[in-house]
């Protein structure tokens, strides 16, 4: 679906989510945005009943490589996703009302031994989404594109921007 110009939406405040970070918003008239996912995954949660939204930008699949070290939970999918979900529930959301969308995981050209973060992230998300029984309604992952995503907290729509291509909505 192509995006259309919406003057009201264009004036909505924007919360920026950095790499290895997550943010939530309980304010309906808000965008949550994260830039240049690369092989990272951008995960959005949205409760359309209460207009509560959240976004995670995770770089790596698992924190287990860094056991015993001080870690940033949002850096990893296996620590970041539970953290984001807990934040939404603390803000008043109910798990059964939360829809999840996932973006990113771009992959370099095929190699057997190097630079496979994109596919590892997608595998880990797939596993976690089953274990945590997430209601995943959109997958925009893999491929050779760098995605920037913007969650409209009013509607739950996610606007995807790819270099040299028009924006589209998921």
């Amino acid at each position: 679906m192509a995006s259309t110009f919406n003057p009201v939406a264009n004036q909505m405040p924007t919360i920026i989510v950095g790499v290895a970070d997550y943010k939530i918003s309980t304010e309906p008239s808000t965008f949550l945005v994260t830039h240049a996912l690369g092989s990272c995954l951008g995960v959005t949660f949205h409760d359309s009943r209460r207009r509560i939204g959240g976004m995670l930008h995770a770089m790596l699949p698992s924190a287990t490589l860094h056991e015993g070290q001080k870690i940033r939970e949002a850096m990893f999918l296996d620590t970041g996703i539970p953290r984001l979900l807990a934040a939404l529930i603390r803000a008043g959301s109910k798990k059964g009302d939360i829809r999840c969308k996932v973006f990113g995981g771009a992959q370099l050209m095929a190699t057997d031994n190097f630079f496979r973060i994109g596919s590892k992230n997608i595998d880990m998300f797939y596993r976690l989404s089953h274990e945590m029984e997430l209601d995943v309604v959109s997958w925009e992952v893999s491929g050779r594109v760098n995605r920037t995503i913007r969650l409209n907290n009013q509607t739950g729509d996610v606007i995807v921007k790819i270099p040299s291509k028009p924006e589209f909505i998921r």
Partner: protein, 289 residues
Amino acid sequence: MKSAADLQTVVEMTRSIPCAPAILPKLLKLAEGSSSDLGEMEMLINLDTGLATDVLRTANSAYFASNQRCENISDAILRLGSKVLYRIAASTLTGRWLVHPVRGYGWEPGDLCRHSLCVAICAETFATKMQLADASTAYTAGLIHDLGKFALAYANFSALDDITNRVPDEFATWREAEKVILGFESTQVTKALLENWGFPSTFVSVGQYYQTPSECPEAERKIVTLIHAAKHVATQIGYGVGVDGFYYEPDEAALKEAGFKEEEMDAAIPEILSTIQRYISPSGEIRFT
């Protein structure tokens, strides 16, 4: 445009871009030299008001400041030391050039600068961990590795759109498309620019071979492979990656020969990211010093 003459045209066109990092090789030489060169270094830095301001600001920053304020470049050089000073110069001079607004590769303003800075930080980190090259040299090599693409975008070649439209349906890799559609590769432009500015041969080799390190003569293959690895890790991290970013083939043979291991590279990413985030804000704003 589709001949060797066009390669020369691109290189010539970049001569008119202000703030080219042409004084970097001179500074690099001085940074490697003895303390007697400090006077010459001061003179070079003073020639560039923006650079002199950055140097003074860093010398007086919370990290370096002592009780006494640095009022001039001479004091700042003594306080920072030639290595730190060179790093500031490399970032300031290259960054200023790379943020010049250009069209091409689907870049947003500043994207090439963000990506090059990430490559530089990855290269510096791996150079230190694996002792493949001097860390400052690796950092600079990361900053300058793709100057040829900047020059191509500055020349505003319509052929770049043609490449964008024909990869991946007609060409599997960006290099392949460049060779057929442009008649040359962006790495050849980088090589020509660095040679014109008098960069040492190490940097010229990085510019020429970083996409295909196995083809590099053995003497400089280690640093070239280092930049190859850094480039791909930075691409996965994502900052500033254009439409071409994921269409390059990793050179597994060179990576293995240099001793790279995937798990060690992945394990270094949290540290690399923390460093990157000191220089690039969540909104993408770049701050070099």
